[in-house]
């Protein structure tokens, strides 16, 4: 399978959204990987002698009420948040795509049962479900993964199933069936590669939703628990000092905006790049 045809390379060169998005993603990933070792402060070390310092060269993002360096905390939180978001997006993507593929391909009662279940979950607002699951099970990373997986897979399942319903009627799928190929082969080799693009594009949008979701949980005290640095927790902590120490909330907030912007650009760019050609 040729992934990078000349055509794709040409389209990539014209795709400013994707280029900027990927550049920002590289910045985020490199910062998360190497940032903690470059910033000379421990994100969890308290320094009661230097609380609420405004941004200076020494502390570019200032310090918080407990004297912790905000830059060190934003960078360390980036590592934590990106990890949590990656799992919270990939798990539902895998689960939802698989279920959508099977449901759409086999149809019949399997499809009906799965899709009614999806409809039921769909009826609840996203945050209500996530918050009630995490609230019931207790805030922990595993429970956050669980909550997002249980709730978000339905979006992927719906997207993939709809595409499968179309692809199943296309003549190359019928030909594969007449050629006596196994169901697994038809699904994985002939249908999946041709239906997964919208799910991948949606996955990028889902990263934006999930980063907001995870940090909102942190903000509400249901997400990552202090003292582990986390953007949502940091914003919540900075609320009380917003008049004397605006930098405590501002910089984690900007970090969230940056991640959101990055993945929105990548999502739009991928949509352009992967849209099938006639």
């Amino acid at each position: 399978m040729k992934l990078l045809s000349q055509e794709t390379v040409r389209r990539f060169k014209q795709n400013r959204n994707l280029q900027v998005g990927l550049f920002l993603l590289a910045v985020i990933v490199l910062t998360s990987l190497f940032g903690p070792s470059l910033v000379p402060y421990d994100p969890e070390e308290l320094d009661f002698g230097n609380p609420l310092l405004a941004p200076t060269l020494q502390h570019p993002f200032g310090t918080d009420d407990l004297g912790r360096d905000v830059l060190a905390r934003v960078v360390a939180a980036g590592q934590v948040d990106m990890q949590v978001v990656a799992v919270c997006v990939l798990l539902p993507f895998l689960i939802g795509s698989t279920i959508g593929l099977v449901s759409g391909y086999f149809g019949g009662w399997i499809d009906r049962v799965i899709m009614r279940f999806v409809d039921i979950l769909w009826a609840f607002p996203f945050y209500v479900l996530v918050i009630s699951i995490v609230g019931a099970l207790g805030p922990s990373t595993t429970n956050i993964y669980l909550a997002f997986s249980l709730v978000v897979w339905i979006s992927f399942a719906r997207i993939v199933r709809g595409e499968v319903l179309l692809a199943r009627r296309l003549e190359y799928t019928l030909a594969a069936s007449v050629l006596g190929y196994s169901h697994a082969r038809i699904m994985l080799r002939h249908i999946l590669p041709n239906v997964i693009t919208p799910a991948i594009v949606f996955m990028m949008a889902d990263v934006v939703l999930t980063i907001l979701g995870v940090t909102s949980l942190g903000f509400l005290g249901l997400g990552i628990q202090p003292p582990t640095p986390e953007w949502g927790v940091m914003i919540a902590d900075g609320r009380n000092f917003i008049q004397d120490g605006w930098w405590i909330s501002l910089f984690p907030g900007l970090a969230i905006v940056l991640v959101g912007l990055t993945f929105t650009l990548i999502g739009d760019g991928l949509d352009d790049l992967l849209r099938p050609k006639a």
Partner: protein, 342 residues
């Protein structure tokens, strides 16, 4: 007469229609569309059987039942005398019967190169041994359908419609079938390319002795390629005969109408037989008597109340209570040179 390769006995296929909210509330029964009604057909080894009819007459459904994409509810299908049933091994059936589809733009996986598409058939069915032998066989298949083996690295969207249809034929041939169902294989192609594909199918039939069920609405093409022709109307076969007999001595008024509707490339010649007028009746509620009685110019009273059987005289079968056997018929001719008439 040789033993038939495929014989179909009285198969029927109905599709349930979706019920809307009003149907459920008023408890009206679920409507069904009878796509095939009591269809019988035999195909002998190496024979080309043409199936013609207007859109919606069930000719594609017939092809899909034969290829195993649909399962008929009633009737039997026999392969060399042994029944093929619904649950039968799809791999075995694939080695007997293959299919070529109408739309060459939709019938190749857009993400696989032409070589991969062909090689996959060989690998799945364990044909042509190891990888090196498979590569050779792929080249051979491409040459067989008149394509340069160098094209095998290409993706489907980089080649023309005619080339795609050739690859589809090669893919069908890769399974070494004895029967190919071609469902309107040339309708989506340009006229010049149509002729090439038709010639290719004829060549392959001559070389490999593959039988062909050729489904089409272009009667000239069907006349050119077929040994026998079945005319379908509203889900049933209304007339079946050897191709020349059908085109020169059509018995069913519908067949006559279809033939009269063929455009004649000679403006001086005119036919006296009126072509078929009006629309196909609603297949959800077909006429009680003969399906064609609503449009037939020779309709007599029994046509509207009694459903005619397929009346067989030798090789020629016709489903009509008032067949046009005695009325004269002027062969409207063909753009292809026909033999032994006029």
């Amino acid at each position: 007469m040789t033993e038939p390769l495929l014989s179909i006995h009285h198969i029927s296929k109905t599709f349930p229609m979706a019920r809307n909210f009003r149907d459920v509330v008023t408890r009206s029964p679920r409507q069904t569309l009878r796509a095939l009604r009591d269809v019988s057909l035999t195909v002998r080894p190496g024979e080309v059987v043409g199936v013609v009819g207007e859109s919606g007459c069930g000719k594609s459904t017939l092809g899909r039942c034969i290829a195993g994409l649909e399962t008929p509810e009633h009737g039997d299908m026999l392969w060399q005398g042994a029944p093929i049933s619904a649950g039968e091994n799809r791999r075995t059936r694939a080695r007997h019967i293959q299919m070529v589809f109408q739309d060459p733009y939709a019938s190749l996986n857009p993400r696989m190169t032409l070589g991969q598409t062909l090689e996959e058939v060989l690998r799945v069915h364990g044909l042509a041994g190891d990888a090196a032998r498979r590569r050779e066989r792929v080249d051979e298949l491409m040459l067989m359908v008149g394509l340069a083996p160098a094209l095998k690295e290409r993706l489907p969207h980089t080649i023309s419609g005619g080339q795609r249809q050739r690859i589809c034929i090669a893919r069908a041939l890769a399974a070494e079938p004895q029967l190919i169902v071609a469902d309107e294989p040339v309708s989506a192609l340009d006229a010049s390319v149509q002729a090439q594909i038709i010639n290719l199918l004829e060549d392959l039939r001559a070389k490999l002795n593959i039988a062909l069920i050729f489904i089409a609405h272009d009667l000239n093409v069907v006349r050119h390629i077929s040994d026998r022709v079945a005319v379908m109307y509203l889900g049933e076969i209304v007339e079946t005969a050897a191709a020349e007999a059908l085109f020169t001595r059509p018995l069913h008024p519908y067949t006559r109408g279809l033939l009269a509707a063929i455009p004649i490339p000679d403006p001086k010649r005119r036919t006296s037989v009126p072509s078929v007028e009006g629309e196909i009746p609603d297949p959800l509620s077909p006429p009680i008597g003969c399906g064609f009685s609503t449009r037939c110019s020779h309709v007599i009273h029994p046509c509207r109340v009694r459903h005619p059987d397929l009346h067989q005289t030798g090789e020629h079968g016709v489903r009509c209570l008032n067949p046009a056997a005695t009325r004269p018929f002027a062969d409207p001719g063909s753009v292809y040179p026909a033999t032994g008439n006029q």
